[in-house]
Structure formats: C-alpha cells, structure tokens
C-alpha cells in the first residue's frame, strides 16, 4: 500500500519535535564522539588494561635488506653545476656556461661513471677528489645521475633530506639509529622532504658514537657486564610500564612503540659492547679513511669512517654527513676548488669503503643554492656570488657486482639561462628532487611498492617515469 505523502506525520500528531535521525547524529558529530569516548572503556571492560599489550622485539623495526644510503651535504651553496656539467633536454651543451665559471659552450668534457659529463682537464675538482680515493674498479662499478634543481641560497630550509622516507621504507640499523652531524632533526643543514626522519644520533666525535651504545662514566666503571645487561633490561621494562598511559590516548600507541623499541634494542646493544661500532677492526676499511688506533677522536675521517662503516654493515640507518665552507664566493677559484675536491675525496672514500666491504651504497650529494661567476670566457673564472638557480644534486650508486644500468645520466635539464629548467618536475623543487632520489632508491632495490607506501602520490605515474633513471 502506497504511502500518502500528505498525511500528517506521526511525530507532529503527538506534539513532539521531529525525531532525531541518523543524519542528525552524524551532523552533530555524535557518532564519532561516541566512538572516541566509549570504545576504549568498553574494550578495557572486556580485556582489561593490558588491551594495548606489551611491545615485543617482533613489533620493532627490523633491518631490511635494502641498499645503504648516505647523504653528503655541502653547506653553503657549492658549484655543483661546474663540476658535473649539466646538459639541455636533448643532452647537448647549453648555449653558454659563462656564468658557471666554465666559459662558452665548448667546455672540454670528459665522461665518467658511464656517460656523466664532467669538466675535463681537472677543472672538475670533485672528480679529481673522487679519483684520488676510489679505485678505477670502484668507479667502474658506480653510476652517476645529476639532478638540476633551483634551491635557496645559504639556508637550512631546503627540503632536500630524504632520510625520513628511506628510514620509513625499512632501512633501519640493527643497533644504531640514523645518524647526522648537526643538531637538527635531519642531522644536516637541510630540512626533511616527504616525511621527517626519526631523531638522528648526532655524532659530534668518535667517542659520542662509541659511548652511544653503552653505559659510561660512573655506571661504566661501577657495574660489571651482567649488571649493565640487567640495567638495560630494567630500563626497557620500566619504559614499557611507564608508557602505558600513552597507549590509552588516541594517537599515542605509535609514540609508545617508539619508546619501547628504543629500550628493547638497548638490551641487545649493551650486551654486544661498544667495540662493534669501531671501523678500525677492519684494516682495509681503516686504510680507506687513513685512521688507526692512534687517530684523535675528533678527526673528521674517523668520525665519517665510523658512520659509513656502521651504515654499510647495516648496524646504523642512513648516515647524513655535513661538510661546511661551501659559501665560497670570495672572488677566487682557489677556495672553491679546494672545497670541491674535498667533497670528492669524501665521496670517493665512501665508494671505496663500499668496495672494500663488498656492499652496495647510494650517495646523495646536495647543497643549499649555488654560486656563479661574472660573465666570462675563462674556464676558471672566480666565484662572485650566490646563484641558487643553477643548483644541481648528485646521486651516485655503487654496486660491487657491476655498474648499475641507467637510462640517463641526468634528471631534468638546464636551459639557456644557465639554470635548472623550472618547467621540469624537479627543476625548481628540492622536495620533489628528494622524492626523485627516493624513487630511484626504491627502483634500485626493486621495491617500487615502497614509494607509494611511503611517499604516496607526491610524484604521479607519469612523473615517476620521467625521474626514475635506474634501470
């Protein structure tokens, strides 16, 4: 029987207000409110206060078999477009390089790492530095990709750091977290792209790395090893107990897990002892960095060597290295050349370290902005000022089994303004440049699923096809 729509509704006949409907509840937010308010108590009634459970080692991040990753930040704005020589969209020289300290467009070039183009005749001091440290066989197993990208000069606010996404994708250390050199959230003077990394261990000197995995000072001398092991266990248990209040708060479970896992990992770490972080236990590795038992704990090579050693063997997560002094536009070429060569030396040592340990490694070299010369035909024109528009980031990938195949040596291009082409997806956006690096790291791991799971759709399918160069 069909309903007569002109009938007076039941509720009107009774003199009451219109009944409350599901939509009324929803618009008032009552249902979500009820969900938030009642379910935790209701769950507790059923399964008690232990409903949130105790975190166990199985719940904590475990090292995955992923390619170790190192960032080298050249703080200040390095002349990266004058070491690697960027090409146009057709991979031909741009019309001139006279603002890049390289003269006209007949720059003598040499290729290295496959087809990557560098300023020849030792003009690329970065390349000179790499060759001084990495053996020819190591370079032969390394590929290189240049990524033109405009970035802000002389600042720590460019979102170039990708350690958060790499960590979130599963590259975590078995005993140490991700590491950095500067007391910032990323450990370098760059902001996080895509996702913030876990707080890094800031390695001020070698001792800070050595002591970071054990008890020191009074506790170090007063307790024997068994007592230290018991103390680590006590701290883990106390932490688990005292963070239960977090689990009762919406969003607090994840934070509780971070704290609990730190304690759980320490139980294992303390048992192993601090010697496990020492790179000097491998003589060949120590030789790459020129360190020995007499090396001062504040020596950069010992600090960098220790960080790289622990990252390469999977004991630590991402290593973020910081090199200062790259705001070198002092109207000479001398300061800049010295610093560029030093960057090459560090990168060369990282590659050679991986070769010694027979581990793959991806090295991401970034800076904040760049420099320019006055317009000049000289191929060694001095650096005159900041010019972030001609910034470039480098990505090097070493594989002990052979040079990784790539489809190109450059992501994006330079234009005839002698600048990164801003119309390309990564050309004017450091965060998308970092995302492109992450996409290539995922590709190198044959785990493209990780990209969307970690970075979502920050780069769409078409853009990913443009930026992924690792075959």
């Amino acid at each position: 029987m069909s309903k007569n729509k002109k009938d007076i509704p039941m509720w009107a006949k009774t003199g009451h207000a219109k009944p409350v409907t599901r939509r009324d509840f929803l618009s008032a937010g009552l249902i979500p409110f009820a969900a938030n308010m009642f379910v935790p108590n209701w769950m507790s009634l059923l399964i008690g206060n232990n409903a949130f459970g105790q975190t166990t080692a199985a719940d904590c991040p475990a090292p995955a078999s992923l390619i170790p990753f190192v960032t080298v930040n050249l703080s200040g704005g390095a002349a990266m477009a004058s070491n690697f020589v960027p090409m146009d969209a057709g991979r031909q020289p741009i019309s001139s390089y006279n603002k890049l300290g390289l003269g006209d467009n007949k720059v003598p070039l040499e290729t290295e790492f496959g087809n990557a183009t560098f300023a020849a005749n030792q003009v690329s001091k970065f390349l000179v530095g790499v060759r001084a440290q990495a053996m020819a066989a190591t370079i032969a197993n390394t590929t290189f990709i240049g990524i033109p990208c405009d970035s802000q000069n002389d600042t720590n606010t460019n979102k170039f750091d990708i350690s958060g996404a790499i960590t979130k994708a599963g590259l975590v250390g078995s005993n140490l977290p991700n590491m950095g050199r500067v007391n910032t959230r990323t450990g370098i003077n760059q902001m996080a792209a895509v996702v913030s990394p876990p707080s890094p261990l800031v390695v001020n000197n070698y001792n800070s790395l050595l002591t970071s995995i054990g008890y020191s000072a009074s506790l170090g001398t007063a307790l024997n090893q068994n007592q230290k092991n018991s103390l680590a266990k006590l701290m883990s248990n106390l932490s688990d107990s005292q963070t239960r209040k977090l689990a009762a708060i919406q969003g607090g479970e994840g934070v509780k897990k971070v704290l609990d896992c730190a304690g759980i990992k320490n139980v294992d770490v303390v048992q192993k002892g601090s010697a496990i972080v020492d790179p000097r236990q491998n003589t060949a590795f120590a030789g790459v960095w020129g360190v020995n038992t007499n090396t001062n704990v504040g020596t950069r090579e010992l600090i960098f060597g220790a960080m790289i050693y622990n990252t390469l063997i999977g004991q630590a997560g991402v290593s973020n290295l910081e090199l200062g002094g790259y705001d070198y536009h002092d109207n000479t070429r001398t300061s800049g050349d010295t610093k560029d060569q030093d960057a090459g030396v560090v990168v060369g040592r990282i590659l050679q370290s991986a070769a010694v340990l027979q581990k793959p490694v991806m090295v991401y070299v970034v800076s904040d902005g760049s420099v320019s010369s006055s317009e000049s035909t000289a191929r060694n024109a001095p650096w005159a000022g900041d010019r972030g528009s001609n910034g470039v980031a480098y990505l090097l990938y070493y594989d002990p089994s052979g040079r990784p195949a790539t489809s190109d040596f450059q992501i994006g291009q330079f234009n005839d303004n002698q600048a990164a082409d801003p119309t390309f997806v990564t050309g004017a956006n450091p965060e998308l440049t970092a995302a492109a690096v992450f996409a290539n790291w995922c590709q190198a791991n044959k785990r493209n699923d990780l990209f969307e799971r970690v970075a979502g759709r920050i780069l769409d399918t078409n853009q990913l096809a443009q930026v992924i160069k690792i075959a």
């Binding site: 039941m10 009944p19 599901r22 509840f25 929803l26 249902i31 979500p32 009820a34 009642f38 379910v39 769950m43 904590c60 991040p61 995955a64 960590t167 979130k168 975590v172 977290p177 959230r185 913030s196 876990p198 707080s199 261990l201 001020n204 800070s208 002591t211 970071s212 008890y215 020191s216 000072a217 009074s218 506790l219 170090g220 007063a222 307790l223 024997n224 068994n226 007592q227 018991s230 103390l231 006590l234 701290m235 106390l238 932490s239 107990s241 005292q242 977090l246 994840g254 934070v255 971070v258 704290l259 896992c261 730190a262 320490n266 770490v269 303390v270 785990r447 990780l450 799971r453 970690v454």
Partner: protein
C-alpha cells in the same frame, strides 16, 4: 508508528557499530601486520601515520638536553654540577633530545640519559653517605652502606625506592615498578661474588644504579 522507530533503529545501530569499530584506530596494528612481505616488520612500525607527540597534541612531552640536566640536578638535590657531570653531559649532548617531541627517544638517548643520571646519582650517593645522621638523608636513610649489598634487605631497598619515586616521579612507585626494581636488585647481587656482596662499594653501586634507572626513567625525563 512502531515501524518508523524500528526503521530508525535499524539504521542507527549498524551505523554506530561501523563508527565504533571504523573510526577509533582499533584496526591500525592489524592492518599493518597484514602488510605481507618479509620486510613488513620494518614497514609496520615505521609506517605509523604520525608519531610526533607534539603534532599529535599528546599531553606529555620530553625534556630537551638542557632541561634534562637541569631537572636531574634539581631532583637529586645536587646544587652544583661536578666536573664529571658536565663532562658526561657534554659527551652525551648529541644523543640527548634536541626538542620536546617524545618520539625523539631512541636507543642512544636512553643510554645517554641513564649514563648522565648515573653521574648525577654519583653525587647524590656521595652526599647522602656523608650525612651520618641517617634520619636527615633524603633518599637513603634506610641504607647501611657499610654492610654492602648483602646487608640491604628488601624493606631497606623499598624505602629507598619510595623516596626516589616520590622525588623523581612525583608519585609512589606502583607494584609493577617495585617488582622490576627488586628484580634488578637480585640480579645485581647475583652478578657479584659472595665476598664482594659484603663490601661497601657494592651497596653504593646498587644505589647508584637504582637511582640512575629511576632518574632516567620515562616519568623522570618527560612532563
């Protein structure tokens, strides 16, 4: 009439059920555990949507490095930081928190906090031992250091724990915590040769470690 109410209830009750189970994060860990691949353990924990306690608006925060040192000295009634405390603080500074986000806690931060607390507690133990009138001690009035760890009964130990809990955590210890601390006392003693358990240093070391543990526990380094 009744039918209309029934219809409303038929819609409302399932809707409430969906809202209750769908929108309160009950499914978070379950979903992550289903993520499949062999690497899912790492993805599982690290793909938690957000763990920054400040962004989440959690009513708890972590003490920064500077706040940690200041707080430990204050809680331990140590008016002047010794050279050893300052050295340990400087040595561990890079491991301690750069801000107040609880998710900054990692393994090195916990070890660093406990080591720093150990150095502060070294001052605390020295101060307390120097007070011969045990009734005037703040924490260790029940402890006869001269007898070694063998002479510290559970009751003596519990009294010391109670004093530190009230000072460091602002509350009494709960049963779980007391059980853990007493278990540590047992393991600490078991790790010593019988003749060492009666030495003065063993009692000092037990109280040093207990103090360090409690002074660097989550409730002492957060607020």
């Amino acid at each position: 009439m009744t039918n209309k109410y029934l219809k409303i209830m038929l819609v409302l009750v399932p809707s409430m059920a969906v809202a209750l189970f769908g929108f309160n994060n009950c499914g978070r860990y379950g979903a992550l555990q289903d993520s499949g691949s062999s690497d899912s353990s790492s993805l599982g924990s690290s793909s938690a949507d957000e763990v920054n306690s400040e962004k989440l608006g959690l009513p708890y925060a972590l003490l920064s490095a500077e706040q940690t040192l200041s707080s430990m000295l204050k809680l331990g009634n140590v008016t002047t930081a010794s050279t050893a405390v300052i050295n340990e603080y400087n040595s561990r500074y890079g491991s301690l928190a750069a801000g107040n986000d609880l998710s900054m806690v990692n393994g090195p931060l916990m070890l660093g906090s406990t080591s720093l607390a150990g150095e502060v507690c070294n001052s605390v133990v020295a101060q307390e031992r120097a007070i011969t009138d045990v009734t005037q001690r703040n924490f260790f009035g029940s402890i006869n250091f001269a007898t070694g760890v063998a002479g510290i009964s559970d009751e003596n130990f519990e009294a010391a724990v109670r004093g530190m809990a009230r000072q460091f955590w602002g509350r009494n210890e709960n049963m779980d915590e007391l059980t853990m601390l007493k278990q540590y006392k047992t393991e600490f003693s078991d790790a010593l040769a019988a003749n060492v358990r009666t030495q003065t240093a063993s009692a000092s070391n037990l109280m040093l470690a207990t103090c360090a543990a409690m002074l660097s526990a989550v409730d002492a380094i957060s607020y």
